[in-house]
Symmetry: D3
Subunit: 315 residues, 6 copies
């Protein structure tokens, strides 16, 4: 549907396409006339805009959160691009497909999902294989699992991010499990596949990515354990000890109470899962951070959360 | 069944009664003969004992964790009481009632339970009243809820402790709710009644109080949320927002991630519940600590966890 | 004296009333002429203003911290109200009553004070009753005690806030004391009444609320203990142990060194006082925070100090 | 009075002297007869003893905390010295001088006090000089100030330790004040002299060094501020700002809330005082620790509080 | 070369001198024409400027980091000074002397260096004296040692700051060493002289002060130890134990791992060095902070890092 | 040389072999005669012993730290094995091989070293390959690198532990490097091989494993950087940036200042190295801990440092 993405708009070009109206502020000029400052977004980023004409009419037709069709010209103001908007109306996205409007993984979702399913088929215990078959048959689950982000910011904060993060962790888990003797590879890989499923309830991503009420009040760990229990109950003779150990992977995967796990990892596999999660989140987060920085500078700007500059090397 | 409790044994008296064999150690005298050091316990405390005769035979008949019938004489050794044991055999507690062998509340369990039920009947929303009726009709739940301890040590670490702690908190919640305008008293009292129900799965108290496997791997918060969800699902039209808020009371009642809550309290009622829990646990814990100390001293000994001496005042 | 409060001014209305001149900045227009940006405040909040004419004369007549009489018209600029000021002169508040200019409790101060006195009369030990009588006879103390805020921000940060906080805590203390056996109710209630009296020295509230030099250098705990000692010395036969315990209530009421108490609570009553203080401060602080937020949103904005959004429920 | 100190007793020698009875335990031999294990102390250390004869009579005549006259022979048991006690009776120390029984400074108390007084005389502002004169005229204060320890353990934990620590800090303060321009040397030295005076109320040292009730409940910072206020009030025209700054030195000398100061240092002089206190306490504490260790080892044993071994160098 | 420093420019004056171009931003006016916002700096501070004419040409000739010759007039805009720039060209500083452009110590560098050398000559062990002679003969080292700052901000963050900080600490070390018996004064003073030499590699100060790549990746402690090792290796028979102890002074001078020392101080001298470093850094940092504040106010503004206001006293 | 190891001695057997004399204590029996309590150790563990005859002679011939030849009989005392020693003399271990006396890796050292060399040969940049060739040609280095432990306790605390830990990490690094695009695999693997080389100076393992003076005073990170610099200097044209990045791997491998790294990881490779180190140390540490516990229990005892019980599963 969309053809012009925010990141590709150039000064001087006409714009006629769909965006999310992220912000709308009614202001007054010195001459007493109103004008409208707006922010438009799509999956590629943000752009500011201004409406000088038909202000009241346009203002009454749109509200933040709407998908709007915008006619405008791209100019520059104070060194940044700005759209001078001629017309804007709310539209209905009949396809129900908002993927153009929120950031999404650059990778092929169906391909990633196939690999996840293949990994779950490689698990040897029949009760584990059965558990994943129950998950994959739940269409509502699969649809959300393929769409959900893994975070609101920091790392994998885009549609498909949960799937991308899950697949990367499960593959890494498979590699590391073989490095040490005595590791239950099937438990570790299954834990990697399931550890963050609660995020499909923790987030909502209708128009932009944010926490759901349930996410803020219960946390994805609590939600994830409940989802596992519902599925496990449908499987006959799922060994009780194995069910406990698998739920423990989810409960403990943040590593310590300080980071939100009610219990710390108490099996070798849970200890490993926590490290694999940290590696995948940190490496991907730092790479996303580096990717936004000036490629000509050997050092990134200061990363506030990690409290340091990162070095990318000299060209 | 029992008549002689550890705390009442006096030097010089004969002993013939039932105890839990807590520890058993086979040692050698200088002359090369074996003897047996043991520790016996019941709900009132611990006592040491020694077996000089028929050592091998007795040692082969009993193992730690057994309920044993003991024939002995009470003497003194190095300033403390010690039983010189003549005979000891494992017995079966046919009644299945081990209440003589683990510490238990000094209060009337049925009376406390009645008051808890009455508080649940005082809740005005029909869906809350219905929820508790489902709980009280679950005999397996009620039996454990009346028997469970609230902790392994520190406070209410005895049978019936969970009920005692729950009742005390619910009554206090009722008082404090009325102090501030705008508090949802029913949500607060219901939260107080339910906040620790997961402890019936977190602990086991067959012969002594300890964590269960499930308790160590999942934590009572995770277990409690699941128990609530199972019951809520059985009630028609339980308002979804209210279910979330009630589960949030359980999820957040430890106050912060550092203390094991995956999310901190995000409603006024959840904030209050956390304080009421802290008050009841701390006050009862300090009183139990004071109760074990020399009543003639104005100061207690050093409390390692709270890092201070407490002052009880001069007689 | 005042009739128009900042929170009630509407666009288009004339304004002629008294305000505190909170800020004054002299700026230059592009044509080289000066103009004046100002901020005016009263107990209900803040408003910005601009002076285009007689700038130098007006600027020379007023300085920040003055109470000024303002003649102006209310307009809108960039979506917010702004006063276009025609005239402004410093006035003397002959009444010495600045209560119109700083935020104040919405409750009846004399009524609250009566209830505080009544609570102090309910104390059974004669030495405690006597102590409060000495305080209440000290007019300078009573005047400040009725006027002082309980904080500069966060909770009860308004005139009368100390009294409101003190009364609320003492009533709550009375309720909780009865919940547990073995609590010295009189010590607890007396401690609640006295715990923050040092704040009358820690703050100044001439025109706005701020820390005094003494407050910044000594802290209200140190000041409060000294105030108690001065009064206790005037009472014959005040039991020495009771004086220590009462002063300990003040010394320890922040709960730990980390929060400013030189010693942590070492009696059950001091432990309770700390919790009651935390409850009253936190509940009131969260309610004030919620009160400033958009009532149509179920979630508040992010609370930086408590590091979370709060949920007020759906309408 | 005493001639034989614990640290000088040698195996084989007869002992006939006065000690503090620190501990007394009545035990039973295998043959059913009683014997008495005791611990005796004086200012130089501890020694164990045993009473085989006249056990019941001796046990009835003495209690822990008494000064006792002991007749015994020194032997060795399990590699350590042990007194075999023949007779022991409680005596009254008519002199009231217990300095033989608790550890005391090795330095000359009167000489140290003279130097402290001289430093106080060197202060230039008349109100400061006057303040110290009031302190030195208070005989009760001076007696305690010369006798008090500076701590219960860690550093200067002996009689005269407060004076030794105070003098060392004041001299050091004098040196450092001259190193930086713009330091109020008189405020810094006066602060050093007064910073710990509250310790004369925080500790008691009748027979051994321990915290007093007041010390545990109020802390020496609170006590010290009160002592200063009482004296300052007796001086006419003591400048109010200077009184605040001097009290601030006491209030803030632990450096942060975490270490017990209600406010952190907010003047250059208070910042310096905190460092001087840390240096003197740490250097002396480490030297005392080193002094107790085997002089042939280059490394000390592990210092639990400071979490490291210290290196003294190779001989 | 320079005659007009930023801190001395007055409104209305013509400006014709050299500055560092710190920032350059190309902006558009409403009429579509470009203008240039710039920031110029020299050792005395910062000033903003604007270029209205010949914008494109000037913009193409200069880049941030250049030393530029500027012709301008000083005006005022929004209450602050602003240069209206007529011409600006990059120049080459042939002298290679950038001392006019970065902040520098107000003290005489050669005099300070002489005193440092004199202190090193006062060391008694011949191997220490020899070590410093090797350092002082290394011209590259001496040049950098005299020029380097001690920090990027906070304290001594100016050219010559390292030398000033080093001298101050060594003199203070000399004073404090004499205060306690048993201190190795030579080790302490040598440690003070060498503790921060790694900063000549940690920082670069070509045009402004910043971390070098080596500084960010290795830290001045690691760099300093290497520099010492290179010099020590050139001295015959430098006692191995003494070399270890001297390097330990550098390794441990931040006092704990938390502050960047791989090992905490384990000798009395290292403990003292850490305190002396803290005193000198903190006192100087607070004085610099006070120096930038309004001298008429008794309190400074809030110091974010030290989390307090500082009190300078009333005039 | 040795045939009987401590872990294999059985009650009733004669013992005639070599051990390290770990402790020696001279004690007195009640009859006044001396006896000797000793502790003997070898690589498999500890055993206590007692000497009843020829006590003075034997005591004079041996001192702790000696390798001694012992003739004894194994008995039981208080439930534990105890040697009754008939003769004991110090011997010289002419081979200089103490491997029988300290715990050592169960794996083949030469095989592990071969694999390490092979990994270093697989590095593509010639300067890295050259660097390792210089290390491998340094026989003194190789000998220590093959012998050193990786820790004093916790994990790999045995001879060959450094090599085992290094090889495991390098192999794991190789696997993980391939999982993410954009990782410099050669830098990561080289960092893994070199990260702990400083431990050959940090520890000594003559008779038992302990920290060296250099280790306690300088830390293995400081030592390791110096060792790298010495070798790098011998290689012509080693790229300066690469040398910095390689040294940064060592400097930052503990992840944060709190854990002893002067700088945190600032490249993706350094971030990964820190996680790989944590994984290998933690997994191996937990496995060693599990290995010492009762294999019939599903839960281990409490791990004090990691503050939890670990679950090994039911048999």
């Amino acid at each position: 549907m969309k053809r012009q993405f925010v990141s590709e708009i150039k000064a001087g070009e006409p714009v006629d396409d769909f965006f999310v109206l992220a912000e709308k502020t009614l202001l007054q000029k010195k001459d007493g006339n109103n004008y409208l400052n707006i922010v438009l977004s799509d999956r590629s980023g943000w752009i500011k805009g201004v409406v000088w004409d038909n202000v009241e009419e346009i203002a009454s037709l749109v509200k933040p959160g709407d998908v709007v069709q915008v006619k405008a010209t791209a100019g520059e103001y104070r060194g940044a691009l700005q759209l001078v908007v001629k017309g804007m109306t709310t539209v209905t996205v009949e396809s129900g497909d908002f993927s153009d409007f929120i950031p999404a993984t650059a990778r092929d979702i169906d391909l990633m999902f196939e690999r996840v399913v293949a990994l779950s088929d490689s698990l040897r215990p029949s009760y584990l294989k059965a558990l994943f078959q129950v998950f994959w048959k739940d269409d509502g689950f699969v649809e959300k699992f393929k769409a959900a982000p893994a975070a609101k910011k920091m790392h994998h904060a885009y549609l498909g991010g949960l799937l991308e993060h899950t697949l990367s962790m499960a593959v890494l888990a498979d590699k590391i499990a073989g490095h040490y003797s005595g590791i239950d590879r099937d438990l570790l890989v299954a834990g990697a596949l399931l550890h963050d499923i609660g995020k499909i309830g923790e987030f909502r991503w209708d128009i932009h990515i944010d926490y759901s009420d349930e996410g803020r009040l219960l946390n994805h760990i609590t939600i994830g354990v409940r989802m596992m229990e519902e599925k496990i109950q449908t499987i006959q003779n799922f060994p009780e000890e194995k069910a406990l150990l698998l739920k423990h992977m989810v409960v403990s995967h943040h590593g310590s109470r300080e980071f939100g796990s009610p219990e710390p990892p108490k099996t070798i596999e849970a200890v490993l899962l926590n490290y694999i999660d940290e590696i995948d989140a940190k490496v991907q987060g730092i790479r996303e951070f580096m990717g936004k920085e000036n490629p000509d500078e050997p050092w990134t700007s200061y990363h506030r959360l990690l409290e340091r500059h990162f070095y990318r090397g000299k060209a």
